[in-house]
Amino acid sequence: MWDQIQANRRRSIILVILMAAILAALGYGIGYVVDPVYAPIGVTAAVALWVLLWVIAAAGGSGLMLSSSGARKITHDDSPRLDNVVEEMSIAAGLPTKPTVYLIDSDAPNAFAVGKPDKAAVAVTTGLLMRLNRDELQGVVAHEIGHIANQDTRFMVLAGVMLGAIVVLADVLWRVAFVAGRGRRRSSSRGGGQAMAYFMLVAVAFAVLAPILARLLYCACSRKREYLADANAAVFTRYPAGLASALEKISGKTWKLQSANRVTAPMYIVNPLQGGRAAVGLFSTHPPTEKRVRVLRSMAGGAGYADYEAAYARTAGGGLIGRRALHDSAPVPMRQASADADQDPLARTREAVDILHRHAGFAFLNCACGLRIKVPSSFRQTQLFCPRCSRRHAVPEARPASGAASQKAAETPDASDAEPLVFQRKPGQWQSVRCACGRTIQVSPSFSAPHIRCRNCRRQIRIEQG
């Protein structure tokens, strides 16, 4: 395992050095074209640009990725199933802390991971949560945790930023060479014009080729890491069929994720922009899904790295992890499908949708007739009638502690120092309570503090266990 990371790291270092060489060459070219004495300054500027971009990406990368995809942080109470799976897999992978779990509101089933091993996040879409059973979900989460454990998440940000810098600089070189070329022609009476013209040709060719070369390197590395994370998933779950069946479900239909773009696409478990098409070439960040499934499905005998390597050699040809890295990898026995594999898909859908509704501020009411009523936060009446059986329900509200007399005080807009509010709560279930300012607050089953604070008006609400 450790060896495998080491081997991976060596490859990564080579990649980074190659890309850095391209970057420096571009800087040199730009400097030289402007004036040969500026060449070293060009190199320095190119490296400085890369470092600057890297620092920005490293500082805000994870948060940026999560917020640009509209991810919401969820707790154990929101989805015990997902939270348990993330916990199990992070223990199996030996991560120092459990990654934070995020949910993205999208029907397209997909997942990604960001961050470094001691401070990571795993994000899944509601579509994924709805469609996958426990074994499949475990496979996908294990794959993402594999990325975190292999440091892929950090590395791909570093390489991605480098690729971005190379693309930008190639463009600059192209423009500078063009402008300088026109300038020189007018003053070509000066000596050395011939050598400069040759250099210009080389520079232009390089400006065209550099981004292509860099992208090739980047994509080849990205694809290899996908296979490695699949191998990790097989080992962590001891059940490769789970991930295989999840990949089949994810790629079975053409889904397109609204919040993904070309920059964030390599981060997802399957390419969110390709929509299940088989178009795969040198410029794909992900290997073809059928090929990944075939490798996983043909794993026989065990779920260890050696078994994955054997299956990879059989179906894809060639080696992936390398004999040296496999030398001391322990055999991992395969396990059976878990008992709750065939859980009701409708119940899963409800679970995912409930999380979204809670986050959207719906208040949940259970009517005795069996109807569950979710009241939008913009509903301003204090009572409503069940649309099915006409029973009267009170919208769960936090009431002033001293009764109805202080109702007026609670209605004043800035009531942070007004009458304290009280809410009678039934323990052991999710409950919605409406603050006097109108904001709905969700109280989770495991909430045990005596107070809760409204995020909107900062009022404190006393929770009484009913």
Binding site: D344, L346, A347, R350, V353, H357, F362, G370, L371, R372, I373, K374, V375, P376, S377, S378, F379, Q381, L384, F385, P387, R388, C389, S390, R392
Partner: protein, 140 residues
């Protein structure tokens, strides 16, 4: 999601694992694409083709009014059932879902031959029954 008619946030009702968007003001129902077929199947409807025709068949722009899809805000199209007399419904041009005015959903379920003893079919009937309105504060 906003009601295409009243432009207020809709309630979400969940019954027997089926979830629908329901306007508390006008008592209309919005069904996301695919939900009608699923509900129909579970309510024992025999004419699934009717639902499919409503969800994907040709629609035409309405003569007046601007009801908008709660998902994409595009103007809803008119679609008709092939029954006699036809039931006219509103559907999103991008097929995000169907809008049923008060009473239209049970009518469509009945036209598709939904089993009247089925608990889900009775739920849909009950949703739009008049006695539900009678006790609401607006009616008093």
């Amino acid at each position: 999601m906003l009601c295409p008619v009243c432009k207020v946030d809709m309630f979400v009702l969940e019954f027997e694992q089926v979830e629908i968007d329901f306007c508390y003001e006008c008592r209309g129902v919005w069904l996301d694409s695919g939900e009608l077929e699923m509900i129909g199947e579970r309510a024992g409807a025999v004419r699934q083709d009717l639902f499919r025709a409503l969800e994907t068949g040709a629609g035409r722009p309405p003569k007046e009014g601007a009801r908008r899809c709660p998902v994409c805000r595009r103007r809803l199209l008119e679609v008709r059932t092939d029954t006699d007399p036809p039931i006219v419904l509103d559907r999103c041009p991008r097929e995000h879902g169907l809008w049923f005015d008060h009473g239209e959903l049970p009518a469509v379920a009945a036209a598709a031959g939904a089993d009247h003893e089925n608990v889900l079919a009775r739920f849909l009937d009950g949703l739009t029954a008049d006695d539900a309105n009678a006790s609401s504060p607006e009616a008093q």
